[in-house]
């Protein structure tokens, strides 16, 4: 069986018994029922994923930053030059980017995966060479990549997730780098969450009104091209991905599937991750049970993507950077949710009186 199909077959629902145990334990801890809000729901999710209660607190986080370039940049959808993708890969390698700082702050390792950078990238322990293609083609005028390339990039993501879990990482965080990559994200969100291009398209790293209008038209044109090709997006997420996606989007979708198949939680960063999660969800609906939305991006289509995924973001601070920054910021909240379940006293153990009935 091909790796993708084999991975999809390995994704099973989280354990209902562990979830039930976690919900019951939350009710016995020394606090009013529900007083820890979203953290309680998160603890139940983590117990289900770990298939035991209390779940271990994630101790060895890793951020995989998938990097790729985008032919659609030729349309003028971003004010940033394409070489910034490579420049930022080198910045990640040197440890000077936001994701490096935020990952260090939460104790996470960073690996960078070149799945689609346009120029050659030197490989080492930090930057992995898994290049499938040196950047996509222009998705406004034709398919961004061939179906076999989309599949290969997806399988890169699966393999990376499997390798990282194999090295002992117990929670995976998503990251991305690719100048122009909010445009394919908007295409994926429009196609897979069924929202209008005007809703799915945002200002990315800060485009002006004229560029936003152009970008929205590019997304609308790509969607029209996809519809004309006769490929129903919901029926065939792989075709949608190949036609209007990006190489890092494909790899991210695979990374989510690989993480879920390996039974670990995956913390999503922002809009790029959200759009990739829609691809993963279309391939395996149960994958969302393994996903934690790290944050809500200021990129306007992200809210629609999160709604379609059924996820509530943990951090909501107007970030619009990508790289994995929002996922890294959320990690301490994920860890805390697990620790509460493991370490808090119960009313009985602490001898504290309960609320009157």
């Amino acid at each position: 069986m091909p790796l993708l199909e084999e991975t999809l077959a390995r994704i099973v629902p989280p354990d209902a018994g562990a979830r039930r145990d976690a919900a019951e334990r939350q009710a016995q801890l020394t606090k009013p029922a529900g007083a820890l809000g979203v953290l309680e729901d998160l603890s139940v999710q983590l117990a289900g994923i770990a298939r035991t209660c209390p779940p271990p607190a994630p101790a060895r986080p890793v951020v995989a930053v998938f990097a790729g370039d985008h032919g659609v940049l030729a349309q003028g959808v971003s004010p940033w030059p394409a070489e910034v993708t490579l420049g930022m890969v080198e910045n990640f390698r040197a440890g000077g980017a936001a994701v490096n700082v935020l990952a260090r702050s939460c104790g996470a390792e960073v690996v960078v995966v070149d799945v689609g950078v346009a120029s050659p990238v030197a490989a080492d322990a930090v930057v992995w060479d898994r290049n499938v293609r040196r950047g996509t083609a222009d998705l406004r005028t034709g398919a961004a990549m061939r179906p076999d390339e989309a599949r290969a990039a997806l399988e890169v993501g699966i393999t990376v997730a499997t390798e990282l879990v194999g090295r002992g990482h117990d929670v995976l965080l998503t990251g991305d780098m690719g100048i122009g990559n909010t445009t394919p994200s908007a295409c994926l969100v429009a196609a897979l969450a069924g929202v209008d291009p005007a809703v799915a398209t945002g200002r990315g790293t800060g485009v002006d009104d004229a560029t936003l209008a152009l970008k929205t038209q590019v997304v609308a044109d790509a969607l029209a091209r996809l519809a004309a090709s006769g490929a129903g997006p919901a029926a065939d997420p792989l075709t949608t991905l190949a036609e209007v996606g990006g190489l890092e989007h494909a790899a991210l979708a695979g990374y989510l599937l690989g993480g879920a198949a390996a039974g670990v939680p995956v913390v999503l960063d922002g809009y790029i991750a959200g759009s990739a999660a829609l691809v993963a969800q279309a391939l395996a609906p149960e994958v969302t049970a393994y996903l934690v939305a790290g944050h809500r991006s200021a990129e306007q289509g992200h809210t629609a993507a999160l709604a379609h995924l059924g996820l509530r973001p943990l951090v909501d601070l107007d970030l619009r950077l990508g790289e994995g920054s929002g996922a890294a910021l959320a990690l301490p909240l994920v860890r805390s949710a697990a620790l509460v379940l493991a370490e808090m006293a119960t009313f009985d153990s602490a001898g504290v009186a309960r609320k009157e009935a």
Copy 2:
């Protein structure tokens, strides 16, 4: 000069030059301008407080949990028995409460300050005996405490902040414990933020509709009593505090003032801290420049309190526990904001191309 007045005189505005340097540095870091959202504003605030750029990342956090009891409990405003305050103090001492778990998770120490618990509490290194009065009187029928008691409790908070900063703590987190303490909080918010008792009064740790109606009436009655006494709340925050506040509210207000006077950031927990911050703001408007809103409580009046303080909460996850839980959850975000400014590369240092003009 009395300690309170001496402390108020020591609070100076944060350093404008360091704030300017931080804003300029943010614009040079390898990311689009503004892409780290609220974290960028927070880094500027921290630079101003530290009076240097980049500001040191808070390395020695401490949560002070101020505990007190409330005579208004006799009105039936909470389903929890008063002895839970003492029970939870013992739970804090043993390390089994939510705030203990969340403080450990972010590397913070916990100290518990008995400023108004109704029964005697054993003192040790964790639980400090600074009891001013064994619980307040019923604020519906008369003053919660005498003016000199309110002042003494305020000065307990100042002294605790000063001691903790003297021990090397470089960021103070607020915590509270007191069965019934959302009722005096609602009174303070109604009086000092000028909102209706129906807006200021919420469900606390989970009261039913009938209790919520009763609690709202209790708050309205207390406010009417305060108005009839002829004391204008804005004109005299100390009188407001004595008439309708709580001992832990007074101590928390002092703790904020003491932290600001010592030049360290103070991370607020939820509704109790927010209402105490209104007292501190009324005494010294510039104190808010030193405050970080850790989270937005599910307690409905908290949003009005934050608006009056001009603070945006970092965490917004439907928590309604108190103890310092929301402040502890926010601390990694505060630390990350400082680290970004100190550790990220600039476009020049990393040799990354900039956005086209």
